[in-house]
């Protein structure tokens, strides 16, 4: 009861804060984007015979993930340093 109440209260706050977002329409990826992804996929499938496409994609995504995580961390730290007494 107590924990549930706290969780529900927290949820209510999040729900109110996110209400502007929830009013927006759902995202539909543009047809051109989907077509381009299909084209890329078509090329990858064709090259899959001779190139380790799975490996290349995996490594590519890991690299992107590292950079995104690093940038996110720097962004968060940049915001944290804006607070007084934080350097």
């Amino acid at each position: 009861m107590i924990t549930t109440g706290i969780i529900n209260a927290f949820y209510g706050i999040v729900f109110i804060i996110s209400s502007p977002l929830r009013l927006l329409d759902n995202v539909v990826m543009p047809d051109a984007f989907n077509a381009s992804m299909a084209t890329v996929s078509g090329y990858l499938r064709a090259l899959d015979t001779i190139l380790p496409i799975d490996t290349i994609l995996t490594l590519l995504f890991i690299s992107v993930g590292i950079e995104v995580a690093y940038l996110s961390y720097k962004l968060v730290m940049w915001i944290v340093r804006r607070f007084p007494t934080q350097s």
């Binding site: 969780i7 929830r22 759902n26 984007f33 992804m37 995996t58 890991i62 690093y70």
Partner: protein, 416 residues
């Protein structure tokens, strides 16, 4: 000094940040399946133990041989480890593969238990301690010539089921085939209530023979099963055990129907005495984990009578009451936590998050999307097998090594 302090601070940051990044990558990378728990999920209820089968990786070559010709017996030697405690039923999972193109159809729970009635008797006979060697066990079984007749069952035999034939529907008195959600079949053996204590006490580690036997064979209800399995002479039927994550064939049952007419059902096939099963694998090894024994909760209902007798009342349990109060106060309801995931799913579809999620989804699926190749390279199988596949493999390794080197350099260069 100040510079050194900054360096130290940077090092401590790296100690935190690098594991953080690695964890993040593990969570979101295509490798995340690797990091997932490999623990199989099993269906465990309060009174059923799922047996986890582990087959020998390299079973010795075993000449297929019936133990006792033209009888109505079939033996499955098994080795059991650990101890069953506090349970009154054993669940064994089998998977039967297709028989002559016809899939094994396991009856759903509640369907007429014709399958179960085929087993008039299932017994578990302990024949040796677990320490006995494999060869000696089979010598003991008489499978390795010379055959020993009668079957040298030890005196310590446990009859799991000795029901009477003819139960119309699945009952606790009958071995009970049930369909699992993964399509496999489970055979539930529920011991008679009166023998529970005996059975529980007697099943311990050791070599056992699972003895399927029966003299009562349905002659009228076979129509129930003709639609399930209907094989011609000399067909091979395979019954497979359900392993942790794979299906491993345990028993090859080769049918030689002496009567020259189609046999109708494998269980019937056993018991009709036409041609009993021939175990090709010498034995199965079972191991299992007994579920924790849960203390029976007492009632928290108000009771009538003198308050001084409250703690003598076997139905009333103060512990249960306190437990229920604590649960009510501090354990969050599932709906309260589930609403967050619903909210997250909603927000993931809204801009700007929806754009990011959509893009990442597309990228993740880029190699699995069902797209037509833009062009098709001519393939010659021998050349592909001997040249391109090895090159691909070598390239993969080269890429991984290069990437590892890059990663090492990248982490070294990260400044925080």
């Amino acid at each position: 000094m100040e510079l050194q302090a900054i360096k130290l601070q940077n090092r401590s940051y790296k100690r935190v940040v690098i594991p953080f990044l690695v964890a993040l990558i593990a969570l979101f990378s295509p490798f995340k399946g690797v990091f997932a728990s490999a623990t199989p999920t099993v269906d465990m209820t309060s009174n059923e133990i799922p047996l986890v089968y582990q087959l020998l990786q390299n079973p010795p070559n075993f000449t297929q041989k019936r133990y006792n010709n033209d009888t109505e017996l079939w033996y499955a030697p098994i080795k059991i480890t650990n101890t069953i405690t506090g349970v009154n039923s054993i669940k064994m999972k089998f998977k039967a593969t297709a028989l002559e193109g016809q899939p094994f159809v396991c009856p759903d729970t509640g369907i007429d238990g014709g399958w179960s009635r085929k087993f008039a008797e299932i017994e578990l006979h302990k024949i040796a301690d677990a320490s006995m060697s494999y060869d000696n066990v089979f010598l003991l079984m008489g499978i390795n010539p010379p055959n020993i007749d009668p079957f040298p069952l030890a005196t310590n035999s446990i009859k799991i089921y000795n029901g009477t034939y003819g139960g119309g529907t699945n009952t606790t008195a009958n071995p009970n085939w049930r369909k699992n959600t993964d399509g496999t079949c489970s055979l539930y053996l529920t011991e008679p209530i009166g023998d529970q204590a005996t059975l529980i006490n007697q099943i311990d580690s050791g070599w056992y023979i699972l003895r399927f036997a029966g003299t009562a064979v349905s002659s009228t209800s076979n129509s129930n099963f003709n639609s399930y399995v209907n094989a011609e002479d000399n067909d091979t039927m395979k019954i497979s055990l359900l392993g942790d994550n794979s299906y491993d064939t345990v028993i090859n049952a080769e049918g030689v129907n002496g009567a020259g007419s189609p046999f109708v059902l494998w269980s019937n096939y056993i018991f009709n005495g036409y041609a009993p099963f021939v175990p090709s694998f010498p034995y199965m090894e079972f191991s299992y984990t007994a579920p924790p024994i849960i203390e029976k909760e007492g009632s928290c209902n108000p009771f009538s009578g003198d308050i001084s007798s409250a703690f003598l009342n076997t139905e009333f349990s103060l512990k249960s009451c306190l437990s229920q109060i604590a649960t009510l106060l501090f354990i969050p309801s599932s709906t309260s936590t589930a609403q967050f995931s619903n909210l997250v799913e909603t927000i993931k579809q809204k801009p700007p998050f929806g754009w990011v999620v959509g893009t990442f989804d597309s990228l993740y699926n880029i190699n699995t999307v069902d797209a037509e190749p833009i062009f098709i390279l001519e393939q010659v199988t021998p050349i592909t097998d001997t040249i391109f596949d090895p090159i691909k493999l070598a390239l993969s390794w080269l890429l991984y090594f290069t990437f590892a080197f890059y990663l090492f350099k990248r982490f070294k260069d990260i400044t925080i």
